[in-house]
Chain length 131, copies 6
């Protein structure tokens, strides 16, 4: 179990349930994943997080699949097991092919490697990059 | 200065210069950024890193601009100042608009936030995400 | 199992047992949690770690509950599952209410988000903050 | 310079200026720090971030000084130079004494150390902490 | 289960099997650990990763046991459970004694602690270290 | 400037000066680097940190040069600029050759890369590694 229990629909407050309803309507599914059931202990944070997430992950200048892959990249670098699993599932649902997944992993690995090399060598930023 | 000096073309070994030549030819520019000049102290690592990077960042199932944005996402989460600067410059050169940059930053911030919330609550991964 | 087995009282050395005794006396409980049983393989590190922890977490200019919440914040950012669990339990034992926990999580999430935004934008530190 | 320039009041959009005005009114100062001037390139993210920050950092079950110290703890673990500077300044302005600062640093250092020890030993979470 | 299934020898492609064969020959064992079975979904990354790893971890100016301990140190700081387990097992197989393991952990913990203290105090680098 | 000023010998307390004296005697140099001058604001933490560091970094089952390289590895993964610089200087003073430095960097980069790949794939730990 986590540091807070997961709230069922029956245990959630009216404010939390209203967020669950919007999640269900937005995603077109009855399923509420554990992250939201955990956050439901603090309805204000639940609501603020969901409402911002809905805006941030919506189609815009970047398409939703690219956004899911970016989410996987950040979650991997931050070592968040849950987030890697949930956003990999979401990316697949949005069309990520095995080839795209393979390339995503290769970029993540490459970036982690050169990040470490740069930090170990303390390379100074080229002036041209700051322009 | 970093933990290793940056090698000029005159100071670099023949093996390192051959890598510089390939970087120049591949990128269509005479400019060699500091990362490669620092790595030139270890020509074998320079060569292995460049040759892998060239493959990983090439067009494929994901386009090069998406790959640059993924690189920025990882570099941000890893706190690599040089890498954030160099890959933001590269993403711009490949067509990242201010709107795309804004959305990229919003996703990175959102992911960092929910990564932290998930970790603090130690949310268990939903079975459906593991399928 | 971890990378070292957990030592029972019977398996622990005399030096490790003396630390266990002090943990028990200081905390007023017979329970020794797994961290100390794992560290018992290296009695010198066990002793140094416990003795410093006892001083650092004692009441002072900051009260012990605030210190536990700071510990949760650092452990979350470092992605330490065990530490998040153990210090959340400790904070609750010292009086952390659900409301305090909710606000703690909100601050942790907010900080993670703005840390990422700042790093992605490479914002220069205002002179006034360095004074 | 960062990856985005800092916008002056003259350069900021009307939507961004409205946020600057609220920051000024809330904090009782004309000063707008660089984080907000950088974020002003994306007024929607600027507004969402500021409005959530204002709520999260307000007095509640935890007092604002404790929240600033939590922010320092997370920012340190995430390696955000700007954030460490800005929130240390904010904590001082809210009454953090040198003794409190010293204890804050000691807890941050202690947590980082035991986080690493736990991870290196892969200690299993005690059942009692999950209850 | 992970975000990709683990491929058996029967499921792996010919290109992946060729890498498995080289791992087996190099290590003198029939055992292929899960990391390689997961990577086998992307034979090009599997091959590139293995071939570079084989070179990097080979005896050179540093002996293979020191390299395994360095690997544990990085994996701990990055919070990679699998990597801590696999490289601790590898270090033991290469002769890491309990005393060496204890000192390794003590250095890792010490470094994590002073890294955090330095970051929280934002200590400027002494000029003499940059020479 | 950092979040605390650096104390000169004249500004340091008697307790802090006694630690400075021991650092000078132990290292055989009059030079006190900035980390200790910053920590001098909190003589108790200064003393506890130095006394533990002195023990941890002393010759033992691992030689001091290996310990410095482990310190560089952790500091790189944690993104601590000061620590990377100071421990690279210390490793050189203890005999790290350019070849050793090159191999150290290659291992750090390799580990960072495979840590990321493992986390992105969420590879389950092989049972044999837990034995």
């Amino acid at each position: 179990m986590g540091t807070v229990p997961l709230l069922t629909d029956e245990e959630a407050s009216a404010e939390a349930l209203a967020v669950f309803d919007d999640i269900r309507a937005t995603r077109g599914t009855d399923f509420i994943n554990n992250f939201w059931r955990a956050l439901a202990h603090d309805p204000a944070t639940l609501k603020a997080t969901w409402e911002r997430l809905k805006v941030v992950m919506a189609p815009g200048a970047l398409d939703p699949l690219v956004k899911e892959m970016l989410y996987i990249a950040v979650s991997t670098a931050n070592g968040c097991e849950y987030c890697v699993h949930s956003h990999t599932a979401a990316a697949r649902a949005k069309g990520m092919s095995p080839e795209m997944h393979g390339e995503l992993l290769a970029v993540i690995g490459m970036a982690a490697q050169t990040n470490a090399l740069v930090t170990a060598m303390q390379v100074e930023t080229d002036e041209v990059f700051r322009a």
